[in-house]
Structure formats: structure tokens, C-alpha cells
């Protein structure tokens, strides 16, 4: 009995110490009483205002591409080639808004690997055309399909427009060329339909309801995807690799839309704009903003009262955009004439990697990978 009394007494004393110590440290409470950031609203905003509309736009672009392709294949002439090229570019620009969402069906079917692996492998494409019987979904064909392969088929298959049209009319392989072009476009369209349908039928609800902070929850996975895309798809693939940042020499032939020769900057700018719009929670079709990384960081900042991270990140995106604006329309040419400008653009993009990967991840306390070893 005496023991229990003593125990209770010491418990009270300790409780009092804890209570005092916490209140005497008088930093004002700014976080409010409850968690006022609604993560589900962020996921909903992402899904309903950005991801699904972007996929819908891409699907509609690709169906336009498909019908222009049908027209061209039926009647390969300069006018139809121009129309087909135009809709290819439209779809490619929209593609820049979805490449980062490697989640759900897109992740399961390796969607991005079947849509935009470049440089495309010309000898693989030629083999496929000559031998037929190809499986476009095969991993071995990842570098022979998607936008870069169509880029080759529309701009690179022969030297000039007349000869390109010949490749689809008088050439000995004209029928095979037509078939391959057709299969490429159809495949891109059908893959996109699969991903979009999954989002609109089942996955959307699963996505917005996965609000926990675990390695497999929506917020964490998409944050990883977002940063991974920024680092790999945008920074390395579009700028760094062609500029020779990771190699002893630059590679002017490793730019996006290499055969088109005119739009690699445009596509890179689209990719960066997609990143920034998504970061700020804008809709795909609008500039009105909703719950987003930016708002989440602003909320977390009210708790820890540090530097305005979302502003730093936006400023850095703007800096990078300026540097990319200053480049040639055709990155191949930029690499060959003045590669320093390319590496400067890379450096500005890289600075944002630090802010995203170090500061943002730290603020959100999300693990950047799936290693689940113990901590201490």
C-alpha cells in the first residue's frame, strides 16, 4: 500500500515536471489545435483537376493523331503528312503533363517506358519493319516505340519530305512502313486508354482515399514520382544527358524529338511548366490553385516557422525556365554550337533538385525510397 502511494506520488511529480517544462518554454503556438491540412483534398485536387484532365487531353490528342494517321496511311501526301506531324506534336506536348504520374496502371504496364524512351533505336525499328511479327509491348522494344519512334517515322525515315512520303508510297517497304507507323500510334492510343479508364473507373477513389504516411500511400508514392520525374525525365533526359553532364563528351543525338529538329526546347519547357503547375496545385486546364505541395509546405512552415520553401522552389523553377528559354529551339544545335548554355540550364535545374529532394522531403518527412531498414 505504501508502495502504491509512493508510486502515485512520484507519478504526479513527474507529470507536473513535464507539464511545467512544456509550458515554460514559451514559443507561441502557431500550428492550431488540429491538423488543418487536408491531405485528401490535395489528392482529390491532383486527381480531379490535374491528372485525369491531362490524361483526357492526351487521349483526345492521340485519337486525333490516330485519325490523322489513318488519313495519311490511306493517302500519303504532303498535306496529310503535315497534319499528322501537327497532331503528333500536339500529343507530345500534352504527354509532358502525364509522364510524371508513374502510379496505378501506368506503373503496372510500364506506360512511360512504352511512350517516351529516347534516343529511339533505329536499327530495332528497321528490324521490326523488315521482319514483322513484333511485340511492341516487349521490353526489348521500349526504345522502338512511342513518341520518339513516331518522330523517326515522320521526320527521320528519309532525308527530306518527298523521300519520306516515298517511304510510304513507292518504297519497297512502303506497306511495312505504313503498318509499323499505324501500329505505333494505335499502341500509344490503346495504352493511354487503359490508363485513363483505370483512373476514371476504379483507381481515382483508391488514390484519394490512400491518405496515410506509408511507403505505398498515394502522397508518398506520387511525391517520389514527382521528384523522380523532375530529376530523371526532365533534368537528366532532356538537358543533362545531351549536354554530356554525365559523360566525357556531349551527345547531340540524345535530345528529345531528335528527328523533328525543332521542338526539343518546347517539350522541355512544357515538362517544366507541368512540374511547376503541379507543384502549385493548378488545374491542368486552369491557373486557379488548390491543395498542393505548395500549400502543404506552407502549412508545415506554420508549424516550424522556417524559410518560405515553396517560394524558394518556385523562384528556382523560374530561374531554370529563363535558362531554358535562352536555348536554341533545337537542343542538338545548342549542344553543338554552345554547350555551356546547356550546362548552365542543367545547373539551374539541379539547384531545384536540392530543394525538392532535401528540403521538401525533409519538411514532409517522407522517405525517398523503399528501403525499410530500422532507424534508431
Amino acid at each position: 500500500m505504501k508502495m502504491i502511494k509512493k508510486t502515485l506520488l512520484s507519478l504526479l511529480v513527474l507529470a507536473a515536471i513535464f507539464a511545467c517544462s512544456s509550458s515554460e518554454d514559451g514559443s507561441p503556438s502557431t500550428g492550431g489545435n488540429t491538423d488543418d491540412f487536408n491531405r485528401q483534398a490535395m489528392l482529390t485536387n491532383w486527381a480531379d483537376n490535374f491528372i485525369i484532365p491531362a490524361y483526357q487531353a492526351l487521349a483526345s490528342d492521340l485519337s486525333a493523331l490516330k485519325s490523322d494517321k489513318d488519313t495519311f496511311v490511306a493517302n500519303p501526301d504532303q498535306g496529310n503528312l503535315d497534319a499528322l506531324r501537327f497532331s503528333w506534336l500536339e500529343a507530345y506536348e500534352t504527354w509532358q503533363y502525364v509522364e510524371m504520374f508513374n502510379i496505378g496502371q501506368a506503373e503496372q504496364i510500364n506506360y512511360a517506358f512504352q511512350m517516351n524512351v529516347y534516343p529511339t533505336n533505329v536499327s530495332d525499328i528497321q528490324n521490326n519493319i523488315q521482319n514483322g511479327g513484333y511485340d511492341l509491348a516487349s521490353v526489348n522494344n521500349n526504345d522502338a516505340v512511342g513518341f520518339p519512334a513516331v518522330d523517326y517515322m515522320l521526320y527521320g525515315i528519309a532525308e527530306n519530305d518527298t523521300m519520306i512520303i516515298n517511304a510510304y508510297t513507292s518504297d519497297a517497304l512502303a506497306e511495312s512502313n505504313k503498318a509499323y507507323l499505324s501500329d505505333l500510334v494505335n499502341q500509344m492510343e490503346s495504352l493511354t486508354t487503359i490508363v485513363l479508364n483505370d483512373w476514371t473507373s476504379i483507381y481515382r477513389n483508391e488514390f484519394v482515399n490512400s491518405t496515410a504516411n506509408t511507403a505505398t500511400s498515394s502522397t508518398n508514392k506520387l511525391t517520389n514520382d514527382f521528384i523522380f520525374y523532375y530529376e530523371k525525365g526532365l533534368r537528366a533526359n532532356k538537358i543533362g544527358i545531351p549536354a554530356g553532364v554525365f559523360s566525357a563528351t556531349p551527345f547531340s543525338d540524345k535530345v528529345e524529338a531528335f528527328y523533328n529538329k525543332n521542338v526539343s526546347r518546347q517539350l522541355a519547357l512544357n515538362g517544366l511548366r507541368a512540374v511547376q503547375k503541379f507543384f502549385n496545385g493548378e488545374g491542368f486546364n486552369s491557373t486557379s490553385t488548390g491543395e498542393s505541395f505548395k500549400q502543404y509546405l506552407d502549412y508545415l512552415n506554420t508549424i516550424k516557422d522556417g524559410a518560405d520553401l515553396s517560394e524558394l522552389i518556385n523562384d528556382q523553377f523560374d530561374e531554370a525556365e529563363l535558362k531554358i528559354q535562352a536555348l536554341n529551339d533545337n537542343f542538338s544545335q545548342q549542344v553543338e554550337t554552345d554547350n555551356t548554355k546547356m550546362t548552365e540550364a542543367y545547373d539551374e535545374l539541379q539547384k531545384a533538385v536540392v530543394l525538392l529532394k532535401v528540403d521538401m522531403i525533409q519538411a514532409m518527412n517522407i522517405s525517398v525510397d523503399f528501403v525499410d531498414a530500422d532507424g534508431d
Binding site: 517544462s21 512544456s22 503556438s29 488540429t34 531498414a373
Partner: protein, 454 residues
Amino acid sequence: MKLSLRTYFDQYTNAAPLVVFRICFGIMMCLSMIRFWYNGWIEKLYIEPKFHFKYYGFEWVKSLGEYNYLLFIICGLSALFVALGFKYRLAIITFFLSFTYIELIDKTTYLNHYYFISILSFLMIFLPANARFSIDALRSKTNYTKIPRWTIDSIKLLLGIVYFYAGLAKINSDWLLKAMPLKIWLPSKYDLPLIGNNLMQQDWFHYAMSWSGMLYDLCIPFLLLYRRTRIFAFVLVVFFHVFTRVLFPIGMFPYIMIVGTLIFFDAKLHEHIIRLLKRALPSLKSKLKNVEVLPQSKLKRQIIIPILTCFFILQLLIPFRYVLYPNELFWSEEGYRFSWRVMLMEKAGLTTFKIVNGNTGAFFYVRNSDFLTTFQEKQMGFQPDFILEYAHFLGDHFTAQGHQAVEVYAESYVALNGRTSQPYIDTTIDLYKQYESFKPKTWILLFNDDIKGL
């Protein structure tokens, strides 16, 4: 003084607490090894990586490849033998060596509690933990019921050091005055049932957790030592460790500590546990000769006591070695490890390496993922000794590839406890020409803030 020390070392006490400790320790360690294997970590952490980060002075410790599995089997079996008290001395030596070898393979996986296991098992080599209720006792048909008191006290002392030093380390301005890093960690637990959406988000709660965590660590050894507060202290131990287990991914450690602190209790409790175990294992009910006192040879004691005295002096001093380094401890981490600095920092970094041809100035950047696992890359990002070691690896690698006049520069940004990331490594220093040593690393840039405290 000398006299009272001598009488202290002549005191004897009931062997039960040490015996129960041995059994629990062995079982826990055996389970830990199985868990490690089951989670696929042997493969992921010790076999898959192409490159391992080494402790200074232990570069000779190599990963055994597929044979690492054998190492884990040996380690797990020796733990089991420790629990059974079968060939105890040999078993605990084997456990200490194999466990420590595993830890030395790659410092990426360094955790304070692995270090704790290593030194605890070292200490146990010198303790008569198989005195009774062990297969060794069965085989020699002798139970020793009394053992020297210092043997049990030495484990209490080690546990006390771990807690108390962990508490001392929390006396710093980030922890107490900014509630960092709990202010980052706790709000991110928004998905905990009941408390995630409210308590975890509250400013006062972050401070309350910081302060009570510090007080808990400082006080708990004394509350456990003092008989009248012992039960209360144990309730605290259970509550604290279970709570941290819920919040953070800390594996088996909380359970090991909970079971470990049982050694502070009176022998009555342990006698009871042994009785229960005997009831559960009726086959062990053999008639053993109960011998009162474990005989101690004078010579043995003259060797063991000095060894353990040195061991404990080192334990008390090592955590303070950081005062010899000029840079901020949390920033440069010189003298950070092996010091019971647990959960003190939220630190992240990004370090990229530039390989420069010293003759032409031509350069390119390294993709770290070509050489490191994501886990290694993460740990390397903010720890200078990792950065230096990796820089040398890269230098050797590219020299072997035929690159000329290789120089290696690091561009590194590190964020600490919610501060904005800042440059970490002097980008003008060729790290390939810097070498690891205990000297201060002058190529680490100075911390642009001040963290006051121990």
C-alpha cells in the same frame, strides 16, 4: 577507499537476474537474426551493394557475399546457445565476433543499438551468466546460486550509461528550445489513430515530448536503481519504448531495452521467472547439486576487473571526443557515432560528384545510382566520412577505367533539423587527395547557425 573497493568486489548476490538476462538476451538476438533474414535485409544490405562503406581502421572487413547467410546462421545459433547456456563462454564469444563482424561490413547500417549489442555482448563474455539454469550447469551437475555482485552491476552500469548519455545529448538548443526534430517527425504521423490529427500537430505536445524525453533518459537509471521508484520506472520504460515503437521504425530495440531493464529488479522476480520456466520445461527438472558460491580464481579476477575498468572508462570518455573538433557536432558529425546520440537529428543531404581531368579541366558528373543503393546514397549524402570514402572509390574507379589525372570534387547540400539546405563541402577541394584520419576535416564548410548545448 581501496579497502571498500576490495570489499565491494568480494560481495556476492543471487545469480538469478543475470541468468534471466542471459536467456532473454539470447532469445531476442536469435529472433533479431531471423527477422533480419526474413525481411530480406541480408540480401539487400550486405549482398546486393557493389560497394560497402567501411569504418576507419576496419577496411579489411569484407562482405562474404552469399556466405553472409552462413555468418547470420552462426550468429543466430550462438545467440540460441547463449539463451540455453550451452558452452556459454564459447557461444557468447562467437556471438560477439560474428555480430560485430556483420556490423563492420558496412557502416551505412550503423545504429546506436547495434553498437549497444556489440559492446554488451563483449561485456557478457566476462560474466558468469551460465551459473545456473543452463545446460552447462546441467552438464556439470552444479548450480551456482550466488555470483559476484559486480557482474550484475556491470550490466546495470552499461544500461545506465546508455540512457544517461542519451539524455545528456538531448540537452541542446535544437531539442529543447525548438523541439527539433520532433516538430518535423510528429506532425507527419497524422495517420495515427486517435492522436494523429490533433495531439501530433500541437506545438505544446512537440515541446512536451522533447522535454520529457530528455528527463526520461536522464532520470530512468536512477529511478530503476532506487527500490521505491522501480516499479514506476519500469512502467515508464514500457510506456516510453512502446510509444516510440509506434512512432518510429526502430525494430527490436524497444523490446530489448524493456526486457533488459528487468535486471534492475530484485532477485525475487527472477526466481519467479525461473520457476515458471521450469514448470514449462519439466524435462529440466533434474537434481542438481546447488552450490552456494561461484568460486573465483584470484588470477582471473586480476585480469577481468582491469579489462572491464578500461572498458567502462572508454565508454564514459568516447561520447565526449567531439569536443576535440572545432566544427558543429551535428553538422560535421566528427565524433557523433558511438555516443548514444539517438534520434537527435533530421538530416538530409544531396551530394553529387564531379570527375575532373586535372590536365584539361574537362569534367563530368557521376550518377550515384550507378554505384550505390538508394539507402547508401541517402546515408552518403550528409556524412563527410562517407563522402570522402566514396570520392576515393570513384577516383580509383575512373583511374582504372583509363581516365587521366583524375580529380574528384563534391557538390553537397545538407539540411539539418528544418533549416534550409546549405552548401556542405568545399567545392574547390580535390577529395581524391584528402585522406581519412581522426584529424578535423577542414574541407567541411562551417555550419551557418549555432546549436548550443552538450
